[in-house]
């Protein structure tokens, strides 16, 4: 695990989350090849890349929805590589899934409640929900509404709130801007900034390059299952290789 020349710490030292040579796929279809990255406590890290790069697959491996075929995953010193999803939440990683995946026929409140399913989260349900409603005042008004009837942006808030209910140490956000109108996308990224300010460590996977690089400290470029580049977001913004990854030339 050598140090990277792009200003990255040595892998494994003091990092909150470390992925080491993770490969994963679906049946015979290999989606990730030897992916290594790390997230330090308090950081906001982005994983960018064009469509089909394997970004969502990466999220699923971290949150335990998908088993890695090889490699290691270490969180706060604990190996979590083949741990089932519900144990990973217990360890402190919460995943806001792609396309939000709300329970459409449950109310906003019930969606938040189920985010607090873990015994340790249940005990603090009232304070957690108050905090989440303070972060998203619009949800307080709509808390008895069926989640499926909310607008796209509001649904994204519920999805994020639901993940926050378990008081995670690391928040994974999978394409938070997907399917949302441009103005709403701005609001979502403002939200991400606020969550950061509250001290959460965030790993965001996102296709919208411009906005995500404005929010994160560092980013990795994932292309067809491999990490091609990584570095401080300020540097990546100027790097022509990123553009090439998305547009081909």
């Amino acid at each position: 695990m050598a140090a990277d020349q792009n200003g990255q710490r040595s892998l494994g030292e003091g990092a909150m989350l470390t992925l080491c040579n993770i490969s994963a796929g679906y049946g015979s279809f290999r989606a990730l090849f030897d992916v290594s990255l790390e997230v330090g406590a308090g950081e906001a890290i982005g994983v960018v890349g064009p469509n089909g790069a394997g970004k969502s697959t990466l999220m699923r491996v971290i949150s335990g929805m998908l088993r890695a075929s090889s490699g290691e995953l270490v969180f706060e010193g604990r190996p979590l590589t083949h741990v089932p999803a519900h144990r990973i939440v217990e360890a402190g990683i919460a995943h806001v899934p792609e396309h939000r995946r709300l329970f459409a026929r449950l109310t906003v409140e019930e969606n938040l409640r189920i985010g607090a399913f873990l015994p340790q989260a249940r005990r603090h349900y009232v304070e957690r929900s108050e905090w989440v409603y303070a972060l998203f005042p619009r949800l307080l008004e709509r808390r008895r509404q069926l989640a499926g009837t909310l607008s796209g942006g509001e649904q994204q808030m519920v999805a994020i709130g639901r993940a926050l209910m378990s008081k995670p140490k690391l928040l994974l956000m999978d394409e938070p801007s997907a399917g949302l109108a441009p103005l709403v996308v701005d609001q979502v990224f403002d939200l991400v900034r606020r969550i950061r300010e509250e001290g959460y460590t965030v790993l965001i996977v996102e296709q919208n390059l411009q906005q995500v690089l404005d929010v994160v400290d560092r980013a990795y470029l994932l292309e067809v299952g491999r990490i091609r580049l990584s570095g401080l977001s300020a540097e990546l913004k100027k790097n022509p290789a990123i553009r090439k990854a998305y547009i081909g030339l």
Binding site: S28, L183, N208, G248, L249
Partner: protein, 240 residues
């Protein structure tokens, strides 16, 4: 060779493709690209006959093919591959391609004729005819798709996401194979793809779709520098 004008397709109220027009010249490789949801797959399916257009026309070598059933379009000389190959698993490799050779042409080919065409197609893509279907990897399945399309003797090939599921070396090979098909067999190609790097280096021209509309047509290098193309791929900055 192919003239598309004012092609539109609506699913209910949703405009998947809106007034797309372009011309395809004989012998060229045209790339049809765009982000997720841009309508490129729908456009592809409209040309291939898998869907009927809501309005507009598609003329292949002067004849209107919009709305014709897929098998008739195939027999007229337009073949397509499928993004997810689904060969007939109970048949052998050879039989799969022979089926294509027969039904893609008149439907009344002698068995030996079909076999010959199948052998030629398999040879072109580099698949040994003796192999069975079981245990074929992703790359081999894609080659089989191509062989099946080639066995129908097309003048125009519609290639549907030929690079998906392949590793880097296999992708290079698949992309070069498309170029070889154009150069050696003189087949015109329309290639839909979302893996950009290789496509941009191989196609002659590129058409970029976004939300069902054509927003760019021209050389790959020009597309890469175009502001609107950049925005749809890299995302937009803050509006607020």
């Amino acid at each position: 060779m192919l003239e598309v004008s004012g092609l539109s397709k609506r699913f209910g109220h949703f405009p998947a493709v809106s007034a797309v027009s372009f011309t395809l010249r004989k012998g060229e490789i045209l790339g049809l690209i765009g982000p997720n949801g841009s309508g490129k797959s729908t456009t592809f399916n409209l040309i291939a006959g898998a869907m009927r257009p809501s309005s507009g026309s598609i003329r292949f070598e002067g004849t209107e093919i919009g709305g014709l059933p897929a098998h008739r379009i195939c027999r007229m000389g337009l073949a397509r591959t499928f993004q997810i190959p689904r060969p007939f698993r109970r048949l052998s490799l050879m039989e799969n391609v022979m089926l294509a050779a027969n039904y893609g042409n008149s439907g009344t080919l002698a068995k030996s004729d079909a076999q010959r065409r199948a052998e030629r197609a398999l040879d072109m893509v580099g698949l040994p005819a003796a192999d069975g279907i079981e245990g074929l990897g992703a790359a081999a399945l894609k080659k089989l798709e191509l062989a099946r399309a080639l066995a129908t003797g097309p003048r125009l090939l519609l290639a549907d996401e030929s690079l998906g599921g392949l590793d880097h070396a296999e992708m290079e090979h698949a992309a070069l194979m498309l170029e070889t098909i154009r150069t050696k067999l003189g087949i015109t190609i329309v290639w839909v793809e979302h893996i950009m790097g290789l496509l941009m280096r191989i196609v002659d021209r590129v058409i970029v779709l976004d939300h069902g509309e054509k927003i760019f047509e021209g050389l790959p290098e020009a597309a890469a520098k175009d502001a609107r193309v950049t925005e749809i791929y890299l995302g937009h900055g803050r509006r607020g």
